[in-house]
């Protein structure tokens, strides 16, 4: 801050507040819609303040789904469980396999090391959407449709985390390994007792990014799951909005939307420091 003009100071705040309002507004409306009756929504305009139906609507969304005659009936508690399993599976899986392979790449010399590195490196670039049809066939042939394994494993095949851990391991001073080796420490002991503990911050940062990535998956679960019991909350919401002239039961839909947003938002806000670090360093 170079100049200190009163008017500029307030204009800065005003500009930021407008930005914050733009960001918050759709979510606020969603929240309001999740606390009113269907009638309050279908005769617009929607009120600007929350109504009295909070508990009713959320209980409906969680345990019963939309009432009869309003699109698909999907109680979302099961779907939130599925989303959580998928998100945590992807997160933990990616972190484990990339810690292991980054350790191998940095601390060992082995035949075809460079080739292996490039093979993994290439997977950095292609999102699952590009190879969606053949990946679907692979998973179908392995009999993994409608299974957690099928939801999780194809999305673990990416190198972002490996790349990140590799870069971090590179910055660890060589003296660490020398000292460990002099004390007769085996490679795996070095990995578990030294490398993993000093990677804690990086693991936390990746955890936030990957959890959001996993929770928010849409296309893959959409294709993978035909069994209603295997649906995830993010993909199930689409089936609650009927196309054509039918009405959706909006209070339930909006309560579901809120429930789909809350877990990843809590993770971002409660682990903000790690989130910022993870985002700036991994970009994906």
């Amino acid at each position: 801050m170079v100049e200190k003009k009163k008017s500029g100071y307030w204009l800065t705040h005003l500009g930021l507040i407008l930005g914050v309002l733009f960001i918050f507004f759709p979510v606020w409306l969603t929240f309001v819609a999740s606390t009113v009756t269907q009638d309050a929504i279908i005769y617009p305009p929607l009120p600007m303040l929350p109504g009295t139906e909070f508990f009713e609507n959320y209980a409906n969304a969680l345990f019963r789904g939309s009432p009869e005659g309003y699109g698909a009936k999907v109680p979302v508690i099961k779907m939130m469980m599925n989303s959580a399993i998928m998100a945590i599976g992807i997160t933990v899986g990616k972190i484990i396999i990339s810690l292991l392979s980054a350790f191998a790449f940095v601390y060992f010399r082995f035949p075809f090391r460079n080739l292996c590195f490039w093979l993994i490196f290439i997977t950095l670039m292609l999102p699952v959407e590009v190879r969606i049809v053949p990946t679907y066939e692979v998973v179908a042939n392995l009999n993994l449709l409608n299974s957690y394994t099928g939801l999780i494993f194809p999305l673990i095949a990416s190198a972002t985390a490996t790349f990140l851990f590799r870069q971090f391991f590179m910055t660890i001073p060589d003296e660490m390994v020398e000292a460990a080796r002099m004390d007769g420490c085996s490679p795996m002991r070095f990995f578990f007792d030294i490398l993993v503990p000093i990677s804690k911050t990086n693991i936390a940062a990746l955890f936030v990014i990957l959890f959001i990535f996993g929770w928010n998956q849409y296309l893959w679960p959409l294709l993978m799951t035909t069994d209603p019991d295997m649906r995830t909350i993010v993909m199930a919401i689409d089936s609650m909005i009927p196309t054509g002239d039918d009405y959706a039961h909006w209070p339930t839909v909006m309560a579901t939307a809120m429930l789909a947003m809350v877990p990843p938002v809590i993770v971002v806000i409660s682990m903000q420091k790690f989130f910022v670090k993870g985002l700036l360093e991994s970009d994906k």
Binding site: L100, F108, F110, M125, R131, Y136, P187, D238, I241
Partner: protein, 293 residues
């Protein structure tokens, strides 16, 4: 860069990279190879046998007006999403950077939409612009403007751009803020002492110093608009009306899974593969440059 000190042995590291290599082969290399292979074949309408057709799938695609239209849609869509979310992100970051106190609070208030799935963002905006009950369409109607994105292509396009950019502002904000805070204050102060106004300083010092990060963000945002926005489009428009919001990745999905046109869908996958490859190479060229700074 290589470590000077390392452990001996080769079977242990082989074991350590095995899980990742295995997963990459099963779910990445094999399907990608399969996509390339399928793109050279044409299944007969009953799916009983396939016929080798060489590059005919590609030739057909590149003369298919729907595919070319989808290309154009993708370019318009991804440019609009990238530019608008970057402009807003930069604007908010520049404001937050001016504050000594409170920048952190605004950061918290601005970054959480990153956690919202594109599909959910789509539902939120669909609700606001729903032709019968949406608040936005209600007030637009009151102002005499007829809103119906299920019939009007340009309105549908506007809505998917809005919903996709909205969730992306936080990402750009965070990167721009980090970039701005990395600029040494002494340079700005020196310019201020020499009498350069805020806008002059912004144009001649800040923008050039931000250009590497801007370029990086541009590539990342284009990749986002190409792929991650699938959820937005699927929930709001399903590619319609009349394919006006069918971006390339949506067409791979609708041709491959809805119309079961596998040869064409595979050829489209290959084209996308090449496009992402190019974008990634550009991005890594940038990362190399950043290392040399």
């Amino acid at each position: 860069m290589e470590k000077r000190v390392f452990f001996k042995g080769w079977w242990l590291p082989a074991l350590l990279v095995a899980p990742q290599l295995l997963i990459s082969f099963v779910f990445f290399f094999y399907p990608s190879g399969q996509a390339i292979w399928n793109s050279l074949f044409l299944p007969d309408p009953f799916g009983l046998k396939t016929e080798y057709v060489g590059l005919d799938n590609f030739r057909f695609l590149l003369s298919d007006p729907y595919y070319l239209a989808s290309f154009k849609t993708t370019v318009i869509f991804s440019t609009a999403v990238s530019v608008s979310s970057m402009a807003l992100g930069l604007y908010l970051a520049a404001l937050a950077d001016r504050l000594i106190k409170g920048a952190g609070v605004y950061q918290t208030l601005l970054i959480w939409p990153y956690a919202i799935a594109p599909a959910i963002a789509g539902v939120l905006w669909l609700f606001m612009f729903n032709g019968n009950i949406g608040l936005a369409s209600y007030y637009l109607k009151a102002l005499g403007y007829e809103w119906n994105h299920t019939l009007k292509g340009d309105q549908a396009m506007f809505l998917v751009i809005l919903a996709s950019s909205w969730g992306r502002i936080s990402y750009n904000f965070l990167f721009f803020l980090a970039g701005l805070q990395a600029i040494p204050k002494s340079i700005i102060e020196a310019a201020a002492i020499d009498g350069a106004s805020f806008w002059k300083r912004f144009g001649t010092i800040v923008i050039p110093l931000l250009s590497p990060i801007t370029f990086f963000l541009l590539v990342v945002n284009i990749v986002y608009a190409f792929f991650d926005t699938f959820g937005v489009i699927h929930t709001i428009t399903s590619g319609g009306p009349e394919q006006s919001t069918t971006i390339l990745v949506y067409k791979v999905f609708s041709d491959g899974f809805v119309s079961q046109d596998l040869g064409s869908s595979a050829a489209q996958s290959v084209i996308l593969l090449v496009l992402v490859g190019i974008l990634t190479v550009i991005q890594f060229k940038y990362i190399e440059r950043k290392v040399h700074y």
